[in-house]
Symmetry: C2
Subunit: 233 residues, 2 copies
DNA sequence: TATTATAATTGATATTTATCAAGCTTATTC
DNA sequence: GAATAAGCTTGATAAATATCAATTATAATA
């Protein structure tokens, strides 16, 4: 494992307060691997053997059932994912695949549990991360149950615009069909939702979005910090 | 606080491993209160000042937005709820109200956080409970995004039937309009979903449901342990 | 027991969303 | 640069769900 990657993982809030001895024990028994886009990392229903950390690239968490498939989350660096299954020594509820060339750190699940039992600071960091994940999922449930597809898209664009800080423009970091799956609609319906937002000052061409009237979009979207604000550490 | 209630809370897995000194510190500064049905306990957006535990009765966690309202969870005894907001010292993302006459224990949030910092066993119990909550929310997202209303109802009935163990019969523990909100549909649409399930051997009158053909219902529902199995401790 | 209130059902209609197919645009490969 | 593949848009139609209103059934109250 490269020192540079190790440093980036070390600085992750989840690991930042872990004592040195514990971290030094985990590093040599973990694997850091490079994957191209589209590689299957995890299958729902599989036993959670590793804690995965996205060091570079991005990962899609998705789920299937009743002949359908949906995107539950999109993981950007540097972030661990699906801690819950690891901590409870259970099966994964979601599958994962790389969206682009990605470097993934895999730490054996047993070692994570052992470290958590002896390292109080790590245990508390775990509590914060799990609480963050729980709140994030609650916001997803609210977004899905309380809003139409166009409303979810409008709010997504407002958040992305806020994060990118590029006056009036938003660049989607992935294909539109992935955004559709994430928002819980078909690609055709996402296209129609974009069409609907034209009357609220939104123009788009492929992954480039232009917001010509921010206040009109806000009015349409009715954003709420209890749904839209990304959960921080 | 009655000794009997104290004992029931003590036996909750979240508190069962807490050391005696810590538990003895929390008990005298907590409040146990009796509420009639329909009482507003928590408002989304409010600062999380207490950890709430349902000792008796039941509590609905709901959320509002865009002029709509939905039920996110229904809490039965003995269970704590919305730990995440308490642990991170943040606002509640959900509101709560009693569904029936209920006894609620309220433990000051600051004391919970302090105890977690010093009591390793309690911290680890917290990790398990938050992981359980996270997984439960993931299942809710999957249920909502991957299934139709009739499918969600069918699976709900299968789980309830399994839990009640009453050969071919299920008694809904609350009104149908609450079940509708929980499943993410209007009361009218829930009624139509029940109608749809008649061809799968389901009859109902008010809160009493009869399942005349379990295998037909299973076939229609396509249950999955990755969605339907209630998350245990 | 009768009356009133509430919950649930049913009908009609509107809206949202999915499905299917075809065409267009853009990216990739040779 | 041309051909091919993939992503996206658009049109038509079907299905799912919401809304609104009226009726029926059940529970609560007097």
């Amino acid at each position: 494992m490269r020192d540079q990657d190790l440093e980036r993982v070390r600085r992750l809030p989840l690991f930042a307060t872990m004592d040195d001895a514990g971290f030094d024990r985990l590093a040599p028994i973990s694997y850091l691997q490079q994957f191209p886009a589209g590689v299957h990392l995890i299958s729902e229903g599989d036993q959670a053997d590793f804690l995965h950390v996205v060091v570079e690239g991005s990962v899609e968490l998705y789920a299937t059932g009743n002949g359908r498939e949906t995107t539950v989350a999109i993981i950007q660096p540097v972030t661990a994912f699906i801690l819950a299954a690891v901590l409870k020594d259970m099966v994964y509820l979601m599958s994962a695949r790389t969206l682009e060339n990605s470097r993934i750190l895999m730490i054996p699940a047993g070692s994570i549990r052992e470290t958590m039992e002896t390292d109080t600071a790590f245990c508390q960091a775990m509590v914060r991360e799990l609480a963050r994940g729980f709140r994030s999922m609650v916001k997803t449930v609210k977004n899905q149950k309380l809003r139409t597809a166009a409303e979810r898209l409008a709010n997504y664009l407002l958040v992305a615009h806020e994060q990118q800080g590029t006056g009036g423009q938003v660049k989607l970091p992935f294909e539109k069909r992935l955004l559709a799956a994430y928002l819980g609609v078909t690609p055709e319906n996402l296209s129609r939702a974009f069409k609907t937002l034209e009357t609220s000052g939104v123009r788009n061409s492929r992954t480039m979005i232009h917001i010509d009237d921010l206040s009109a979009l806000r009015k349409m979207a009715q954003p709420s910090p209890l749904i839209d604000t990304p959960e921080e550490w």
